[in-house]
Point group: C2
Chain length 588, copies 2
């Protein structure tokens, strides 16, 4: 060993102890007769003291060291004269009697500090230096700790982690696969798994009964801040369970994680139907850290001669408490916000409930004070509040109002990153109509089971959109951290489902054949879910981007700027794989 | 929940308890008035009793059930009249009062028994049924348990598991990469990692200090029983350590696993130099469950007029205790064995040390009884022993004698699968001469450090073959379960190493650029190792094939016969990826 202690463990109790430490030079300060060096490792920072009077040679040597040099020092733990109470090692320093430079270092392109001066691109190019910074290192430590906790928790419940293959069969359904040409089987390809969905269902057929896996998954989709081409799932499945059992099992897991990692305790997570989530929050992953629910105003807002409202399928709004004093500028900002293409509203109506009980709105021409009072009553508003109202198509209005609600939550500081509001969204629709292809798609996947009480609705196409599934998402702070379903294990129902989705028998066999065959040999009732592990880490840390929780992430072009991947490969490799590259028209 | 208990937990203490169980029908027996059904789940087997007299309808229903039907039964725990003491639930049965068929099952193509009647191909095609069998399920359970133990052990030592990318840069050095075409970056490819080697070294540069990862790796090589295109490594790396620290850390880990999983305790693992391993066992992964070391006979066997020995670079043999009575047939079998192309010897000389003190050999023409006595003395043989001698080139003779030794160990029952003989093989050569390309290659990889005392040998090409590396393998029962090295962290030494390997600066930069760049910013001394996880599971179970420890393995053509992967993909997929398939001449 190069060291006897780490840079994070020595304190006043170790005074007089002979120690050897290793680490990186964080910073050094020359104070005439003394030179102080902060030595950093993963565990902390320890101050090194060099005295010009007692050991001039060593002190001179110390003065020549640069930032991020790798050092080994031996010395004696001594009490500091000027203490730093902010860090555990702040009361001591090492009076160094031996200094070895284990490695020199070029000056890093950004400082290794909590608040770095490196831009995102630079940080990613030198990710190995970025990872030296406390906040980034702590993210990876949180991720590691969370994984250990999850594994032990599930292991104690008799879950078994089974590793499923990465080189699997490509299926056209769902998102785009990454594929891997097979050298041994020319003209054929493996796919990288988008999830181990089919394998975990096979494991249920195998009787494995309680399975989990923390596993890398791959989707060749266009990227954004919370999507990476490779991401990690906590994939879980159970046999002989109903929806309630799955929800209880994994709600307990997440409560356990909150307790262990955050010291927080929760009652039962609220359950919200998909229908209510859409009605009150306009999306299926509501941020319930704050209320500000949607209020439908069709009854009170229509019929007063305001054409926009009169012709709208939905008039709905939110009540922003205490915002009646919003200025023209603030209101204009909000109007601009809802008119952005990503939000998509045509405009916004406001109604101020003034402190004196009077109303001021952008539609005073059409609404009397009494009319506005009636609307305010539906909102449950009180003097000092501001009502913001949108109208139009049901779905578009819900979506826009959802964005407006989140924006108001942000402005009012209601999206507090130290607060956590977990819930289950349940009763998702089984099927989703696609205008473009004029057919129904499985909202979750084709093995998701309908609610037994809705099964009869499968008989009449007119009712397909109303069928609810045994499908559920866990949502925390407006982020879908996980989701799953109870699967169909009955062959007749599965066939009916495939026909509903417009699959011929042959197509079903071709795409899902090996799973369907397996189901003929005694499939138990089963269901499960998968958590997005990267996202879960981000949510627990109150951070939006999952990139901060991935050691070596890729950028929005799927590129790792540090290693320069992807990259061209040798002609010999292409030859062995029996593939040719097409001429790429660079002008395109 | 569909059940209140599993099929493995009920015993005599539960008599009278109302229970509900779920599982698969293992077998049923009609005994006139009674029908007994064995219900199986992952946890065990519980007997169900149906009585024709008390409940004829239910009993009739039970009689119609087929093998592997999925059942849910409710009933009362009762004491059995005829007990089975071999299983924990063997003293009780469930008197069933409710039976639900959760799913029917086609008759499986092989029986779900410990000794199945399914051949290997059939088992793989229906792997989900094979996994229902106890021995296969137990293999996966062992694997899961081992992973949990490893993670907790390393976590307690401050190791952090960091997930490294799967879509990385392809490097031409080493084995063949699997590659993944990038849609977003046409003409460019990712590679799947052969190991996270470069990333774990980057993490050391990051200060992560103690890293591990249980991680899938990929090699596009031709396959055999102990190789799969995808396999799992326990990948580990430490900073500020010397070789001794790495050996001690991971020896303790493996001792811990033996203790926990096998109840076995070990003293320190023996250390054997690579030179001794070759000299005494003819290979770098000796099976030390038995002695039968090589004995060199050049001094005593040459110069007696036997041309084959006289002209050989090496005459060496092994002493098989108590085998002097081997018949002509047995000796011929051994001669045939060593002459196989895979073994490669030209022939075999035997010397029997008869019980009466006389000798009988296949070279009596050339050797007197005294000559043979002198040889026997070198062997340390005693009356009743059989000496087997090979000769020729050093390397070829060592290889063939190694095989013969293992064969004799097998025949004498010395390769006992319940015995474990772990050791470290150390002091591997740094460089290996390749006749074909007439250059030296790194035996381990180009970042492996030479032993400091051998560093000066780098100056003279004549000495390169003699340089020993800080590289080590852990070997158990003749299987290399893991290996690693202390890495070079000094830039000058690394450059010298690249030049030794014949890399130009540009080539080195091109292949290892991002790691070399990282090393300029303060690389700590570091080293590590990787265990083959699949292999470790197999060795712990005394099994040769790693396939039994992989849930869904591939065959020797890299094919998953269950799912039918790899497979052709759609033209649209090729179009998106900008690649074309070549015409494959099917006649080839």
């Amino acid at each position: 060993m190069y060291r006897t202690c780490t840079c994070g463990e020595l304190n006043i109790a170790h005074i007089g102890k002979e120690v050897t430490l290793c680490g990186w030079l964080q910073r050094s300060r020359d104070l005439g007769g003394m030179t102080f060096v902060d030595l950093r490792d993963r565990y902390g920072i320890t101050q090194l003291a060099f005295n010009m009077e007692t050991n001039a040679e060593l002190c001179e040597k110390a003065r020549k060291l640069g930032r991020e040099y790798v050092l080994q020092v031996s010395g004696v733990v001594a009490e500091r004269s000027s203490k730093n109470t902010k860090i555990p090692t702040g009361e001591i320093e090492i009076v160094v009697n031996k200094l070895t430079v284990l490695n020199a270092a070029k000056t890093p392109p950004f400082t290794i500090e909590d608040n770095s001066d490196g831009g995102d691109d630079l940080r990613m190019r030198y990710r190995y230096l970025d990872l030296r910074r406390n906040p980034v290192r702590k993210n990876l430590e949180l991720r590691h700790n969370m994984a250990i906790l999850i594994r032990n928790y599930l292991n104690n419940l008799n879950f078994i982690e089974v590793e499923t293959p990465f080189l699997i069969k490509s299926t056209p359904e769902g998102a785009r696969d990454f594929v891997v040409p097979s050298r041994m089987n020319p003209g054929e390809f493996y796919a990288l798994p988008q999830s181990p969905q089919q394998y975990k269902q096979l494991l249920m057929v195998s009787g494995m009964d309680r399975y989990f896996q923390i596993v890398r998954c791959f989707r060749d989709e266009d990227l954004r801040a919370d999507r990476q081409p490779e991401f990690t799932q906590i994939d879980c499945e159970m046999s002989f369970v109903e929806q309630e059992d799955v929800l209880n099992t994994f709600e307990s897991l997440v409560k356990f994680l909150f307790k262990e990692l955050k010291g927080l305790e929760f009652d039962s997570f609220p359950r919200m139907s998909y229908a209510d989530a859409m009605k009150y929050y306009g999306c299926d992953k509501p941020d319930t850290r704050f209320e500000m629910k949607f209020v439908e105003l069709n009854d009170v807002a229509k019929g007063k001669g305001f054409g926009l409202f009169d012709n709208a399928a939905l008039v709905a709004g939110i009540n922003a408490e205490g915002c009646a004093e919003y200025t023209r500028k603030q209101l204009d900002e909000l109007t601009d916000f809802v008119k952005r293409p990503q939000v998509g509203a045509g405009g916004m109506v406001y109604i101020k409930y003034n402190a004196d009980g009077s109303f001021k709105s952008s539609v005073d021409k059409f609404y009397t004070q009494d009319d506005l009072k009636a609307i305010a009553d539906v909102f449950g508003s009180k003097p000092g509040d501001l009502m913001l109202v949108l109208c139009g198509d049901v779905e578009k209005t819900q979506k826009a109002l959802c964005e407006l609600r989140l924006e108001m939550g942000e402005r009012l500081g209601l999206r507090d990153n130290t607060k956590f509001a977990p819930l289950w969204v349940v009763d998702f629709p089984l099927l989703e109509w696609d205008e473009e292809t004029q057919r129904f798609y499985a909202k979750h996947h084709p093995f998701t089971s309908p609610k037994p009480e809705d099964e009869s609705l499968l008989e009449d196409k007119a009712n397909w959109g109303k069928i609810r599934a045994n499908a559920y998402d866990m949502v925390i702070n407006g982020v879908e951290v996980g989701g799953g379903s109870i699967r169909i294990h009955d062959r007749d129902l599965q066939n009916k489902m495939f026909h509903t989705l417009g699959f011929s028998d042959e197509e079903a066999q071709n795409q899902f054949g090996f799973l369907m065959n397996a189901f003929e040999f005694g499939a138990p009732p089963h269901g499960g879910l998968a958590f997005g592990f990267d996202r879960m880490c981000a949510v627990f840390s109150g951070v939006d981007s999952i990139r901060d929780f991935i050691a070596f992430p890729k950028n929005n072009s799927g590129r790792d700027v540090m290693s320069g991947s992807p990259s061209p490969i040798a002609q010999a490799q292409l030859d062995e794989l029996n593939i040719d590259l097409r001429e790429i028209n660079k002008a395109n």
